[in-house]
């Protein structure tokens, strides 16, 4: 259960953004990706999750062990918190949504429709979803956006528990996640494509 990335290039809209990205992650490790706006963090995470094409290089990971959580939380506004969470639990073949609810204080919101949640409550529900997937490699794009300090602590606790149980996580963020020394930090600026080459499919035209 590892994630190894070697010499990876990722591209968006026919421009290579990052080149030669290298890192590897094993059980019990967390990695924080940093870099200025527009560098390609979101693109990299989507590529790792298999939602975008790999330009060149390799990502070796078992797809059935990963789960992705992006900017949008995929919350249905007419389903209640419970229904939203239970749906994902069923899809991923897990049963119990109790721990996930508890981890983010969602119990009192359980019958509220998704559309009536505040920004932070939505995000908490989105994070709780991770726990019911039962997957071990988490890929998170700016997970703590809109969270208050208490919820950020809960998030850090969840991550610590997850890596304590042998899971791992890759997260992109601009702010402090409250993880302290539990997570390594990788600055992606070093991989910025120097001579921004066109995407491989465009290259054929040169």
């Amino acid at each position: 259960m590892t994630l190894t990335v070697s010499n990876l290039s990722v591209a968006r809209g026919s421009r290579i953004l990052l080149e030669g990205v290298e890192f590897s992650l094993t059980s019990g490790q967390a990695l924080i990706l940093r870099g200025p706006n527009g560098l390609g963090k979101t693109t990299l995470l989507r590529t790792l999750a298999g939602l975008q094409k790999i330009e060149t290089g390799q990502v070796s990971v078992a797809p059935e062990t990963t789960v992705y959580a992006g900017h949008a939380d995929g919350i249905k506004s007419t389903l209640t918190v419970r229904e939203n969470l239970q749906f994902w639990a069923k899809v991923f073949g897990t049963r119990d949504i109790g721990p996930a609810l508890a981890a983010f204080d969602l119990a009192e919101l359980i019958d509220r429709p998704g559309g009536m949640l505040s920004a932070g409550q939505k995000r908490r529900l989105g994070l709780a979803r991770l726990m019911v997937t039962g997957r071990s490699i988490w890929m998170l794009d700016e997970p703590t956006v809109s969270l208050d300090t208490h919820a950020v602590d809960q998030f850090a606790t969840m991550i610590r528990r997850h890596i304590g149980q042998g899971g791992c996580a890759v997260m992109a963020t601009h702010i402090d996640l409250g993880l302290g020394a539990d997570a390594q930090v990788l600055d992606l600026s070093q991989f910025r494509a120097t001579d921004p080459a066109p995407q491989s499919s465009d290259e054929a035209f040169l």
């Binding site: 809209g13 026919s14 921004p196 080459a197 066109p198 499919s201 054929a204 035209f205 040169l206």
Partner: protein, 241 residues
């Protein structure tokens, strides 16, 4: 070296650049000969009068309209299987020529129908399936233009082209069935081919050859333009970073 080497855009540009002038000249010769012969050197038909001469545009354009779709189908398969960019772009270019040819066939047909049948349009199976083909072209082109990423657009339009072809064949059958049910025997379409005398036949051949060449030339030009576009895009991407 295999034929596939010309699937490289740059090689394709070079090669097509070389053949284009010759092809263009041939096109002009065929079209001018066919048209001049057809319009000025043949007598009027004894039944149809001078309107018969629409045939020199109508039939070739109808032929091309159908075969352009076939070409697109082949190109779509090549793109999906071998992922040669030129074939995807050639399909796109051919669709533009094809839709115009379909339109020409429809319009000339309508202008022919007015004197011959007393109506611009009838829901004859042949005409109807042509109208459906026109819709397929429109959808195909709209899909190309709606998607930004060129590779994604090529993939999606290729699948659409394949699925669409199956449905086009099915509609053709359906339309035949549908119209016979109502117009027992009394179909409006002329008895073609057999009626046509040699006087009209040979100039028509020239016109058809001319339109085929015209299609080739326009498609080549279109493909070259698309390739240049992509090239420019690639260069801009490299420059800007």
């Amino acid at each position: 070296m295999s034929l596939w080497q010309y699937a490289n855009p740059v090689k394709f540009l070079n090669l097509s650049g070389k053949v284009l002038p010759t092809l263009s000249v041939l096109t002009v010769i065929c079209l001018v000969t066919g048209m001049y012969w057809g319009y000025f050197l043949t007598p009027d038909d004894y039944k149809q009068g001078s309107t018969v001469k629409i045939i020199y545009i109508h039939v070739p354009s109808a032929l091309i309209a159908i075969n352009a779709w076939f070409m697109m189908l082949v190109a779509a398969l090549i793109w999906l299987i071998r992922r040669h960019h030129v074939s995807a772009l050639a399909a796109k270019a051919a669709s533009h020529v094809g839709v115009v040819m379909t339109l020409i066939a429809l319009i000339t047909g309508a202008f022919w129908g007015q004197p011959m049948w007393g109506t611009w349009w009838a829901w004859d199976p042949r005409l109807t399936s042509f109208l459906i083909l026109f819709l397929f072209y429109l959808g195909y082109i709209a899909l190309w233009s709606a998607i930004e990423d060129p590779d994604t657009a090529a993939d999606l339009t290729s699948v659409l082209c394949i699925v669409g072809s199956v449905f086009a064949v099915l509609s053709r059958y359906a339309v035949n069935f549908w119209n016979q049910g109502l117009h027992q025997g009394a179909t409006l379409s002329l008895d073609k081919e057999e009626n046509i005398s040699d006087v009209f036949y040979f100039p028509l051949l020239f016109c058809i050859a001319g339109f085929v060449l015209l299609f080739l030339v326009l498609t080549l030009v279109g493909t070259r333009a698309e390739i240049r576009n992509r090239r420019a895009r690639a260069l801009v991407a490299r420059e800007k970073g």
